[in-house]
Structure formats: structure tokens, C-alpha cells
Symmetry: C2
Subunit: 332 residues, 2 copies
Amino acid sequence: MSRRTSDSQKLFSAAAGGDRGSLARLLSLIESGGDEAREIGRLSFPLTGGGYSVGITGAPGAGKSTLTSAIIGNLRGGSTSGAPNVAVLAIDPSSPFTGGAILGDRVRMQDHATDEGVFIRSMATRGHLGGLSLATSEAMRLLDAMKYQWILVETVGVGQVEVEIAGAADCTIVVVNPGWGDAVQANKAGLLEIADVFVINKADRAGVTETRRDLEQMLELSELDANAWRPPIVATIATSAEGVDELWSHVLRHRAFIESNGDLNTRRTGRLRKELNTIIESKLEQRARAICSGPRWKSLEDQVLSHNLDPWNAADQMLERILEGPLQGPGE
Amino acid sequence: MSRRTSDSQKLFSAAAGGDRGSLARLLSLIESGGDEAREIGRLSFPLTGGGYSVGITGAPGAGKSTLTSAIIGNLRGGSTSGAPNVAVLAIDPSSPFTGGAILGDRVRMQDHATDEGVFIRSMATRGHLGGLSLATSEAMRLLDAMKYQWILVETVGVGQVEVEIAGAADCTIVVVNPGWGDAVQANKAGLLEIADVFVINKADRAGVTETRRDLEQMLELSELDANAWRPPIVATIATSAEGVDELWSHVLRHRAFIESNGDLNTRRTGRLRKELNTIIESKLEQRARAICSGPRWKSLEDQVLSHNLDPWNAADQMLERILEGPLQGPGE
């Protein structure tokens, strides 16, 4: 382990010196979890706080990747000197039925692949879902430590995990399209709760007015506090970058708002608290896997399989072992 | 707890005596988890083994509910005396963007609501995902103990959890539609791996031949063992029950096949083993929640929030506490 740890440290130093290959390798280590991920987190943690994260979420096909690409174009402008560094994490919890479109979208974003000030990375995991949100937090932290001023976190779909991940940014953009009752869907999905800015993308299509009205109505119904941020609704055509300037001005306005009223701090604190919880859960799960092996386990399992012991009782008997032995050690 | 336990026992006896209201309440208790669910599992466990479970999965809109309804019609026939009892669990992990269609579909299935030999129930949870698969196993066990000969488990979408749940049945039917490259999607989704029978539903639409050919090709590529079950491909029009007889004959043929070669036993054993694992994980998570409270937790949390301690170290320090105190007790 000490050898690997020292590898992480070398990669970390190289990445901090601007080596993109090392940064990419660090992100792969984070993605696969394990001791290296932890070491990278430890190295990143003290260096964070300068970056600002923006989550971008919405139904598949809403145009999130194109919008993200347009936002990058906007942030990087014509000249690259003095422009802020931008990192993009495209999060894909490997929902099987969205697999098709992803590569194509990512390719589109590669407009910016040659820009040294832009770093784009997909993250996925087929493992435990808590693993993806932990890896995302850790990746965001690393990118923050590497002095990316803007960290865009785009999620591929609108499953529970993706909504959670996108909602865990400093600012969350929810993308809907005109028509198809998207506004209502957004409400159901809990997107209304996490939205700081609404985007009606593909605004060259019919139905923008109705969608805007639906969103407005839902905002009315949610009875926002007088002092609360009221999510603006921006129409965009991401393919031609139309409306992206306006969108970004709202993101900046929102940032100023939550920086001045203390909400940004509250959000970040809440996020860290939740992460700590998830880490503890995942460590206990690791322990569970270690427990579920060895001869004692085999014998209890046999009793369950022969229907002489119910699984809940077997679990209790097995869990008594958690009070014995070291936390990281094998079960038997 | 002893009072509640005795309630579960009363409900269990009443349900075993044929009271559907009591059965519904038991399923609600299972859905909400907790001690009652456990007690119900303990009561069910020795009585199980007679029922046979069939998972039905596929993309939203593939016609799974209509097909399920047609299968019920087929199993119950014209006469109800002597026909097998059928239970349906419709599993909905509350994927936010599928919310709309569900009620409508369920209503359609209520064709059979007045049939005493048919029991239909939706199950959902917004809690931890392991919770849904545990609750589903427990519900299947209860229905088995209540002497339902066929237990149909229909999942609403094709997320990871849903595929897992549908794949954990004795026989799994994967439903696709003609056209839209569904066959390819099925492959991506890992549906090919779990399919025992393929259904091309809505076979009155164009593209049946192509979809069948795609599926055949994928089966070729998967290089099945000579002794292995080769999933048949059946075309159905669920709305008019066309093809459902043939579909069911394949389910019966598959059942005879895995009963005779020992696969059924292997499947059930594997499922029970996995469930035991999930129970242990969920109990450890419960323990994690208990740990994450109290003054010691607060102080570590404060150190993390002030960036004086990284979350992984904090988690380790907190987890030392797992070696102290009773397993079910509060953390501090």
C-alpha cells in the first residue's frame, strides 16, 4: 500500500504541475475506489474551496451535453489567456437504456478537447450507487484542488442518483424542453427542489410559452419564502449558443446571492456532512463483504439454504462477529 | 415490539385463512421494513417452496402490464375452480421520469381485481435501493407461503435495480418491441444475460422479423453451452392475448428443464445467499446511521467542516466506535 500511496502522491504533484495525463490517471484511481482514492482525497482536501461547481441535469435528449459545450465556449471566450479554467465531469451511472447516445454527445463536447484550459472526463460505475456519488465528490474535490475555477457536473439521465449528484453542486441547472409536459415531469422528479436555474432548451421548437407558464405555476405553488432565491427560467438554443450568455448571467447572479446570504457555506457544509455519512456506510459494507466468508459463514449459510434457519437470524448471528477482529481485516 | 410482533402473527394467520386485507397489510409492513417485516419473514420462511416466480421486465412502454394481465387471464382461464392462484408484484423503484404511466397500467390489470384467485400489488420505495430488493424477496416469500402457485414480478423500467429484481425470479421474461433497435438495447442492459424467454410484444407492428433476427444473432454470439437453455423468442400482441399461450408453454418448458437439471435449485440457493448478504449490509447501514449522531460525532464533524480533518480519517475514527456498544443501540 505504501508503494501505491507514493504513486498517488507523484501523480498528484505532476497533475498540480499541469500534467493532464496524471490528472486523468488520478481520476481513474478515484473512479475505481480503494486506498488510492482515499489518499488522493487526503491530498486534495486542504487545497479546496476555490472552485465553484455547477450541476446540469434533465431528461435524456434534453440537450445537456450541447448546453455544457456552449457554456464552456462562453466561459473560455475567444482568447484563452485570463479565461477561467473549466472542468467537466459527465456522470453516467450506467443506466442500461441510455447507453446509446452517450458517446456521441461526449464527442460533440470534444470541440474543446484541444483547449488546455478545459478538462473533460466521463465517470461511471457499475458498482454500488453510493460509490458513484462518493467518487464524484472526490473527483470534484481533486479538480478544485487542481485550480479549476468552474467544475461543471453533467448527469446523463434523471434517476434518483443523478438528481442527487447534480443537486449536490453549488448551483444546479435543470434543463427541460418545450412541449412534452416536461415541466410536470420535472416536478415529479424532484428537480424543482434542486433547480437554481431553469433552462428551456431547444427553444426554437413550439411550446416554449406553455412550458415557461407551467414552470412559473409550479414555482408559485412551491410558495417560496420572500428572501429565498427564485429560480429564473431561461430559453436557450444550445446548438447555436443562443441564450447561453443570459443563462450564465443568472448563474453568476445566483452565486453572488448565495455567497452573500451564507447559503453557499450551508450547502457545502451539508454536502460534506452527507459525504461523511456515505463514507461510513461504504466502509461498513466493505466490512460486511469481509464477514461473509470463511467456515463460520459457510455453516450458517448452509443452515439457511436447507431452510433450518431464516436469513434474518443468520444475519444476526453473523453480525456478532463484527464486534470481534480488526475493522479492515477478513472475517474469519 | 412484542405487541407489534403479535399483530404480525395475527395478520399472518388471518391472511393464511384467506383474508386479503390482512395480506395487503402484511405487504405494507414488508414495504416499510422494520421489525415487523423481519417477523413476517420468519413466519413465511418454513412455509415456502411451492410457488414459482416469473419476472417480467423490459423498457417502459413495452407493454409489460398488458402482457402480465394477459398471462393472468391465461392462467385463470374461464373457470376459477382448480385454476392456480396468481399473485402479481409490480415493482417501481420510483424512477422519477416513469411516474406518469404507472397508475394507468395498474388500472388495466385490475380486470382481475374481482377474481379471488388473483392478488395484485404494487411495491415501491424511495429509501435505499437494497431495501427494495429485500422487500421484494420478502414479499415473494410471503406470497409463496400463502400458497400462490404463480408469483409474477413485473418491473416498471430497466434500471439496474429492476433488472436485478426481475432476474432474481425462477424464470425471467424479457419484453422488447419490434423496431427501435430494442434488441441491441436489451444486450446493453444485461437483459440478455437474465432472459429465459424473449417476447417481442406489439407484434402487429412492423419490424418483428428484424428484431427476431437481432435477438437470434445476439444469442449466437453469446455462445451458449450445448446443454444450456436456449431462450426462445415469442411474438405476442398482449392487447388481444395473441401468442400468450405459446409464451406460457415456453415458461412451462423452461420450468421442466431447470427442475430436471438442478438449475432451479442452484438459482434459488444463489438468491438466498445474495439476500443474506444484502441483509447484513442493510443492518450495518442501520448501525452506521446510529453511529452518526451524538457529541463525539458532532466534534469530528466540526473538524471536517472546518477542513482540519479529512472525511476519510473522520470516518475511521468514528468507526472505531463500532467495536463498542450493542449492535442495535444508539451510537452515543
